[in-house]
Each structure stands twice: as C-alpha cells, then as structure tokens.
C-alpha cells in the first residue's frame, strides 16, 4: 500500500462507527488497498460497491444528473459509502449505523480529490 493511500485510509478509519475503508479499482471492483476490521469481507465490499456505483452512475447519467461523485447506501444494519476518484479509483467505506456520515464523507472526498490530482 502506498503511503499516501494508506494515510487516507487511516484518516477515514478514525471516524466513529467505521468498520473499514478501501481503495477499489472502479473498472473491475478489485481492492487496491484496504484497512478493515476483522470479519469485514474486503473483496465482497469492493465488488459490490463498484457494481452499485456503476448502476447508480448509469441512472444518474440517464436522468441528466451528470457524473456521480459520492454515493451512500444506508441500510438497517449499517452504511456503505463510496467516493469516486476519477479516472479509475473508488474510495469505499463500510460503517455501522453510528457513523457520522458528514465527517466520513469529508475525509473520503478529500482522499478522492487528492488521488485524482
């Protein structure tokens, strides 16, 4: 894991309620770097997050919303967050329901913007 990617994951993981964060290849949904609590299925998180983002992006494009930058899926048992880091990376985070989404989003968008530069 490169230092820069690792530091970004470290910052994201400090947000309360965070169970793990990872860099994922947007194209194939494979993990690039990850920092996960035990028991979090990294490969599945990566694949599903990338797939969800593809579907959401397709719909957003079709309805004229433009390019998607951030996706959050809230479920009864937790939240999946994805920031897009064009051209080819995603910042993905899995959190429990206590997470401060605003703070997590801030760190993830910051990481995504730094990676896109």
């Amino acid at each position: 894991m490169s230092d820069e990617l690792g530091r970004a994951l470290d910052r994201i993981s400090r947000v309360r309620g965070m169970r793990g964060s990872m860099w994922v290849s947007a194209e194939d949904g494979l993990p690039v770097a990850q920092l996960l609590m035990e028991g979090v299925p990294g490969k599945a998180v990566a694949a599903l997050a990338a797939s969800l983002v593809r579907k959401v992006s397709g719909t957003a494009g079709a309805v004229g919303a433009g390019r998607v930058r951030f996706v959050q899926m809230e479920a009864s048992g937790g939240t999946l967050l994805v920031a897009l880091a064009p051209p080819d990376l995603l910042v993905v985070a899995l959190a429990d329901s206590r997470v401060n989404i605003g703070l997590a989003r801030l760190e993830m968008m910051r990481a995504a913007q730094a990676a896109s530069r």
Binding site: L48, L52, A62, M73, E74, A75
Partner: protein, 293 residues
C-alpha cells in the same frame, strides 16, 4: 451480466445448435448491445425457426430499436407457434397501444389475462389502457405513445423505455400523488414493484420525460442495493443518495417493492434533500396503501 454473457457465449461456442442463443441475445439486449443481440437472435432463429422464445427476444430487440412493425411481426410469429405465449400477447398489446389502437391493445391484454389470471403486469397494463382516453391515431412519423405502457420482459430486468410522451401529457395521465410538492411531476418519480411508473415524473433539462429511462435504471439500482445489503449483512436498504455534478438523487423503497426517486438541484443540501424525499415517501406510502398496494 458480463459473466452471463461470457457463460452463454461459451455455451453457444461449445454447441452452436444450442437454444442458449436466445438467452445470450436477451443478455446483450439488456446491455444495450442491440446490433449484436440482433445478430445472435437472427442466427439462432435460422437454426430454430420454430423457437417461440427466440422470436420473442427478436421482437423485444426490434422494439428497443423502435421498429414496432418488425416487433409486431415477430410477436405474431410467436403466437402462431405458441398461441398462449403471455410475453407475446403483452408485446402485441404494447405495439398496438403505441400505434394508437387501444381496443386491440386491450383485447391482447385480456387474452394474456385469460391465459394467466395471476399476471399482475398484464392486469395493470389493461387498467392503464382502459383509463386512457381514446386518441386519434398519430401521424406515422410521430411517436404514438399516450401513456407509459412498457413492453413485456422475460425476466426481472426493466422494460425497454418507449419514446417519452411530452411531460404535460405524461403528468395528465398519472395520478397527482405529489401535488403540493415542489416540481411534483418533474423531479419525483414513483414506481411500483414491477418497476412501472405510477406517479410523478422526471423531466430532463431539455423538457423531455425521462421517467421510463429512470425506471429502467432504478430496477438495476434497487436489485444491486438489495444484493449488497444481503452479502454484507447490512440488512434491508433504506436510502441511496447519489451526489452528482448537477443534481442529487435520493432513491428509497416504499412498502413492498415500490420505489421512489427524488431529484433535487445540487444547491439543496443533501440533508434537506433527504428530508424532502422522506416526506415524499410518506405521501407515496399512504397513497399506495389507499390503492390496496
């Protein structure tokens, strides 16, 4: 989907006489690879000219391409081979309706229901057709759609989007569930459990109704969210928020399988968009309950 296509392509390569061509053509159609889907379907039908499901797929491909005459011919062929083919009956109804012939559309849907009385999609489509005021057949160069009735599908994927009716007309035929909400027929969309538009509407910046396009996409989003929740042990999903360049989208389930989509300008904070969506969801839920949904 890509895996499906790979698997089916491999199966067909192993056995070119296989009926897997129909599934492969359908998978390609759903990925909008229409030319490739058409090639596969025609090639398969050259080997299996009496394969009803193959003609059914071919009809859907033509329908996607906007070639309603060829779609109708292909569905008619299905009915020659299998007169009780529900998909083809609904297909014929779809084409007839799009061509302005509500009576013929209703007759085909009644036949589909006679074959399968539990076919809710056919029942809803029939209700829609009957509720629609008779309109004169449109000029041949213009789309004939008067309401949103979707072409039939073989599987859970959404129907191909028909050419959109003008927004005002679409709003006229949909129940005013969200009246009182800001942009109630331009930025809020309610879909039933089959992915069919039932209320509201979504209008593009160019003024065209993109409700059906959104509905098609949302079926995939909902399915993916459900799968994600199950795999990751997150349970049922409650909302999906997408922040995009020019708008924020909020998607949420309503009751048993229905969905609501709310689009808000980027200038509205996400938290506020979520509250707005929550209010709209409550309204939709109440309305659906009143409909017996």
């Amino acid at each position: 989907m890509i895996d499906d296509i790979r698997t089916l392509t491999a199966a067909l390569a192993r056995d070119p006489a296989s009926l897997a061509y129909a599934d492969l053509a359908e998978a390609l159609r759903r990925r909008n690879q229409r030319d490739e889907a058409l090639r596969v379907a025609l090639q398969g039908l050259s080997r299996h000219p009496m394969h009803a499901d193959g003609h059914d797929v071919l009809a859907r491909i033509y329908s996607d391409m906007g070639d309603l005459d060829r779609a109708r011919l292909a569905w008619s062929k299905v009915l020659e081979i299998a007169p009780d083919h529900g998909g083809a009956l609904k297909g014929v109804a779809f084409v007839r309706f799009r061509q302005g012939d509500s009576d013929a559309a209703a007759a085909a849907l009644e036949q589909a229901l006679a074959v399968d009385p539990s076919d809710d999609a056919a029942r809803r489509a029939l209700d829609t057709v009957r509720r629609t005021p008779m309109a004169p057949p449109p000029p041949p160069t213009e789309p004939a759609a008067r309401v949103t009735v979707s072409a039939p599908e073989a599987g859970p994927a959404p129907s191909p989007p028909p050419p959109p009716p003008p927004p005002a007309e679409a709003a006229r035929v949909r129940p005013p569930v969200f009246s009182g909400f800001d942009r109630s027929t331009a930025d809020i969309l309610l879909l039933d459990e089959r992915g069919l538009v039932v209320a509201g509407g979504l209008v593009s910046s160019a003024g065209t109704d993109v409700s059906e396009v959104a509905a098609a996409g949302l079926a995939g989003v909902s399915g993916e969210a459900t799968r994600t929740g199950e795999y990751l042990g997150l349970g049922g999903w409650r909302t999906i928020v997408a922040e995009a360049e020019s708008a924020n989208l909020v998607v949420a389930p309503v009751g048993e399988g229905a969905l609501i989509l709310v689009r808000r300008d980027r200038s509205m904070p996400v938290g506020l968009a979520l509250r707005f969506a929550e209010r709209a969801r409550g309204t939709a839920s109440t309305w659906l309950a009143g409909q017996g949904a």
